[in-house]
Structures are given as C-alpha cells and as structure tokens.
C-alpha cells in the first residue's frame, strides 16, 4: 500500500558489473577449493580432470582428523556455554548497572574482538605458565571462552536494547519477583539473540587458530591439525575437509540468518 513511498531504483550498470567482480573475487578461492577436492591429480594444474571421490574416502579413514574434530566440538560446546553465560551477565551489567570503572570494563570486554589473536593468546599463555597450568584442551577452552565473551556481549546487549522495558515493569507490577521476571520475561525475549550468538561463537571457536596456537597441548583441534599437515605439504585431502567445513558453515549461516530475520520481525 505504501507504494508512493518507494522510490525508483536506478540502474547502475557499471557499479553492478564491479560488484559482480567483487563477488567473484570473494568466491573464487572457495570454488577452486571445492572443485579440486574432486580432482584425481591433486591440487594444481588446469583444468581439473578425472573427478574422483578418492580424497573423501581417504579423509573418512583418517583417524587423526576425526579425533581433532571431536576435540574441536567439545571445546566449542563448552566455549559456547561459558561465553554465553558470562556474556549475558556482562550485557545485563552494561545495560542496567552502573559501577566505578564501567567504561574501562566495557572496553576491556570488547577488546579481544579487535585485538589480534596473537596478543590475547600470548598473554593467556604467560598467565598459564605463571600459575603452572599445563597446556591442554582445557587451556584452549579457557582461551576461546575469554576471547569470545565479546561476541556474546555485543549480540546480547543489542538484544536487550531492542527489548521493551515495559514488559519487565509489567511483570513486576503483576507480582513477579526479579528472578521470576528474568526467567519468564527477559530470557524468552532474548531467545533469538542467545541462539544467534551461540551459533556465531560455535563457528568462531571451531575455526579459531591464533589464540589456540599458543594454548594447545598434545591434543589438536581441527584447525591446528590441518595447520600441522599444511606445514608438511599440500594434499587434496585437505581440500576435501575444507569443502566439508565450507558446507557446514553455509548451513549454519543460513540458519543464523533466518533466526535474525525472525528476530527482526518479532521485535515490536
């Protein structure tokens, strides 16, 4: 009905062509990667001939890779739990509480987001060494959890801001305690933000290298396992696992995106 308000979209052919080129640039390596994972003669040369599933077969028999996948999944799951909990509290604190040093706190919480991973990783390494903690998946988990609190905080803070404050006031007015209000009103309102943040943290943890690099013990996470093999040379098996990672990422992001859309639609 509001047709009069929509303004005409002008065609811009040059800009459209340029944008298409940028898109091509962004997707080219991924396409190459996927295509060559099916190439019998390995990576390199052009054009790829002799398509095969051999590399995938080899991948499925590779114990070390799947152990590292399991490790990554464990770390990621725990990281999501830790980051979401602390991130939720931090978001609530930023939204509702005032205390001395709040600006510093806010900056500190958000710092790992923009600071190069090596710095966060190294400082945590020094911390682990100084308390005598051995490096292991546990230290990796602590590193991920700490670094990714910022992601949770940002997403949940945005969710809190969008929430209608009057709902909580209504709940208190009707006799609910603050705890009941939090469980029955605040959390459900944040449901979509929580899931979206959780998905993002999960993905980032699965892919994390910089911080993990310095906190890893004997057990590898998936990225570090791949990294180790890369140092030894390129095999299309890596293409295969990369393709699988890509496929998993696409699925996750589609889910995330639909959650976002739903969150926007349901927001009043």
């Amino acid at each position: 009905m509001s047709t009069a308000a929509t303004h005409a979209i002008r065609r811009a052919p040059l800009l459209a062509a340029y944008s298409a080129l940028v898109f091509a640039f962004i997707y080219l390596p991924i396409v190459v990667l996927v295509v060559y994972s099916f190439n019998r003669d390995g990576v390199g040369g052009f054009p790829p001939r002799h398509l095969t599933l051999d590399w995938y077969r080899q991948l499925f028999g590779d114990e070390a890779i799947w152990t590292s996948v399991l490790n990554s999944l464990i770390v990621a799951t725990y990281s999501v739990a830790l980051s979401l909990t602390l991130g939720l509290l931090a978001a609530l604190a930023l939204d509702r509480a005032s205390f001395p040093g709040k600006p510093l706190f806010r900056r500190l919480v958000l710092l790992p987001l923009i600071l190069p991973g090596i710095i966060t990783g190294l400082s945590l390494l020094m911390f682990a060494v100084s308390v005598g903690a051995p490096l292991s998946l546990f230290t990796v988990f602590l590193g991920h959890g700490t670094a990714l609190i910022s992601v949770a905080t940002t997403e949940l803070f945005a969710g809190l801001q969008k929430m209608d404050r009057a709902q909580e006031e209504a709940s208190l007015d009707l006799g609910a305690t603050p705890l009941q209000t939090f469980l029955r009103i605040t959390l459900p309102n944040l449901k979509l933000s929580l899931v979206a943040a959780g998905l993002l943290i999960f993905t980032l943890s699965m892919d994390e290298i910089a911080v993990t690099f310095f906190l890893i013990g004997r057990d590898n996470t998936l990225p570090l396992e791949i990294w180790g093999r890369l140092r030894r040379g390129i095999t299309p098996e890596i293409n295969a696992i990369s393709t699988l990672i890509f496929a998993a990422s696409v699925i996750l992001i589609v889910i995330w995106f639909h959650l976002r859309i739903r969150a926007q639609r349901e927001a009043i």
């Binding site: 009905m1 047709t3 009069a4 308000a5 929509t6 303004h7 005409a8």
Partner: protein, 368 residues
C-alpha cells in the same frame, strides 16, 4: 526554441499564465494503478492544494512533478518544455519534504546554501541570498546551528528557506505541517500563506487535512483513488460540491437521497423545490444551512430575518442528540425517520420537537 506543436489546452486553463501543464498523467506500481490519467493546469503564482486521503495518489503526483518517479504514461510540461523527461536535479522545481530531510552533517547556513553551491551560483551572491532566505523565515539567529538541535517548527522553516533560496518556478510542499502540533500548525499555515503572497512563487501543497486546504489555497484539487474528483476554489468547492464524496470529504454534510418529480424533490417527510431531470437524485445540505424556525442568533450567526420567504423549506424534527462545541451546537435530529445534522450558533440546551428551516438553494444536487 519553441516546440513544434502547441501544448494542447485543457478545460482547466486559467486566464492567468499557466505554469505547469499535466497531460493524462498516469502511474502504475505493478498491477496497482495509483494515478489514472489526470490532466490539470497550474497557474503561475497560485497556491494550489492537492487534497485527498492516503492512497488517493496526491503524494505520487507530487513525486512525479519533483522527478522522483517516472510516469507510466502522460506528460508534464513547464514553460513550453517537457518536464518529466528531466532528472530532478535539472528541474526548476524544489521540494519541502514531509520530514524536512535536512542534512544532519551541515549547519543551517550550509543546508540553505546547498542548492546554490551545487549549481555553482556565483560565490559572492550565495552569502547574500542565504541571509535573505533565512531572514524571510526568521531563522537568522540559528545560522550556525545543526538541524538536530532545532525544534520541528524551526526545522520546517529551514527546509522552506533551503527550497526558496533557489528561486524555483514551482515549490512543492509534501504535507509539511503534519508533524507539528495543532497550535504551531495554525501559526505556520498563516505564515506560509503570507510568505507565498510575498514571494509570488507558485506553491503546490499536498495535504489530507481539508481545513488546512481550505484556509490556504487559491484552488483545491481533490483527488480520489487516483482520479481528479473536483478542482475549484475553496468557496466554490464547499458550496457547490460536484459529487457526494466531495460534499462529505470537505466539511460535514447531510446526504439526502431524494426523488425529483416535476421540479420538486422529496426525501421522506422533506419536500423542496428542485430543478433538473426527474428521477432519483442526491442532495447535499450543509448542517449550518439549517436554522431554527423563528429564532435569530444573538451573536451574529444569522442575518436572515425569521419571516417566511418563498424559498424557505420548513420541517419539524425531534432532537436526538446535542453536542456542545463552544461557539456552536451540533444537533442530530430525526425528521420522520430521516436523520439530519444541524449546526447552530450556541444557544443552550434544546429538546423535543422543534421547527427548522433551510433555503431550497442550499440543497445542492450532487453526482454519485
């Protein structure tokens, strides 16, 4: 260089020079026809209002003239040249937007100077013209302020100055007063009217508020579902509405479904002399045209004496409801099953059966 063919005249051509000619202008959005082949002429120096409900097409028409939409068919001409083929930045038309659209990163002075600067007006001139424009809208003191610090009314004035400083041939105003509160609105209406008289620029004003349209315009073009319902001066459109829609949209009225037979119209218990062909007909009778029989208003409302006159139509009706409005009373009366609204000057509570009368000529025959 004059175009090879003359611009075809429309029946709306005024005696004064015609500035803008709209010819069979139509606009479709997908399957929805927003404007249906409208033709109209806008005279130079006039204050004309496009009036209509939301969805009537008035905003679309304004955007077509400004250049933000392209017509599906039809033409717009200005001063002997085709207008609709030009992009907005080449038209000698400026717009005052509904939410003012002031540039937040520029102060008031730079906002007003914007149009002059981008069209490379001579540098020395810019300063003087901007100052003139600002003093015209009484915003000189705010020249260095940022739009975010101004109130709605102040922003509106700046938007006006920003448009007028370019000396456009036509100024478009897209419901510029709708965001203001009631008192400020009235004040701005008055200022706009005198401003237009002062600068002499043609104003095309869009609004859904019929009172506003009546107060400001030289002519009102009433749009309904994308078509031109009636175009006339406010007085004419009020006293001689062409259709039932016009009669009801502008002001209040009583719509009487009557049967006309040999110069006499009958509607329920009412009967009055009426010209025109026999058959079913609709009549519009304004509430203020009905008076109490035998009474004279004591505060200057009526100036007819209460004696019988040939053209008076008398009837009796029972008062069902009375709404007090300060200076007036709005009565709802029942005349033998026919409900009528009557507007009288304030006179205290009334009740029961009363005698009323109206002039036969006040019952205007309208189309469906």
């Amino acid at each position: 260089m004059k175009p090879a063919h003359a611009i075809p005249p429309s029946h709306n051509v005024e005696a004064v020079a015609s500035l803008l000619q709209i010819r069979s202008l139509a606009k479709r959005f997908g399957a929805h026809e927003v404007l249906k082949a409208i033709s109209l002429d806008i005279a130079s120096g006039e204050f004309i209002t496009l009036l209509g409900e939301s969805g009537s097409g008035k905003t679309t028409m304004l955007r077509l003239i400004a250049g933000f939409e392209q017509p599906s068919s039809g033409e717009i001409w200005m001063n002997g040249e085709r207008l609709d083929t030009l992009p907005p930045y080449k038209r000698r038309v400026n717009t005052v937007f509904q939410q003012y659209a002031l540039f937040p990163h520029l102060n008031v002075r730079d906002n007003v100077a914007y149009g002059l600067r981008v069209t490379n007006a001579p540098g020395g001139e810019v300063g003087a013209r901007v100052n003139d424009a600002l003093s015209m809208v009484k915003m000189d003191a705010f020249a260095s302020a940022r739009p975010a610090t101004l109130s709605g009314g102040q922003q509106q004035r700046v938007a006006l100055a920003r448009a007028l400083v370019n000396r456009p041939l036509l100024l478009l105003l897209d419901e510029p007063l709708s965001a203001l509160d009631a008192n400020l609105r009235k004040q701005m209406q008055s200022e706009l009217k005198s401003l237009q008289r002062e600068v002499g620029i043609t104003f095309l004003f869009v609004t859904h508020d019929q009172e506003e349209a009546m107060a400001l315009s030289d002519r009102i073009a009433l749009l309904r579902n994308g078509a031109l319902e009636q175009i006339a001066s406010p007085r004419e459109i009020y006293s001689r509405p062409a259709t039932a829609y016009t009669a009801q949209f502008i002001g209040q009225t009583n719509l009487l479904h009557a049967q006309v037979h040999v110069g006499s119209a009958t509607c329920g218990a009412l009967r009055w002399p009426a010209a025109g062909p026999d058959g079913a007909a609709l009549f519009s009778l304004r509430p203020e045209a009905i008076r109490l029989h035998g009474h004279v208003a004591n505060n200057g409302g009526e100036f007819r004496n209460p004696e019988n006159s040939v053209d008076d139509v008398r009837f009796s009706a029972v008062i069902k409801q009375q709404l007090y409005g300060g200076a007036s009373e709005l009565l709802e009366v029942n005349c033998g099953g026919q409900l009528l609204r009557v507007k009288l000057a304030a006179r205290g509570p009334l009740s029961g059966m009363q005698d009323f009368l109206f002039l036969a000529t006040d019952a205007v025959r309208v189309a469906e």
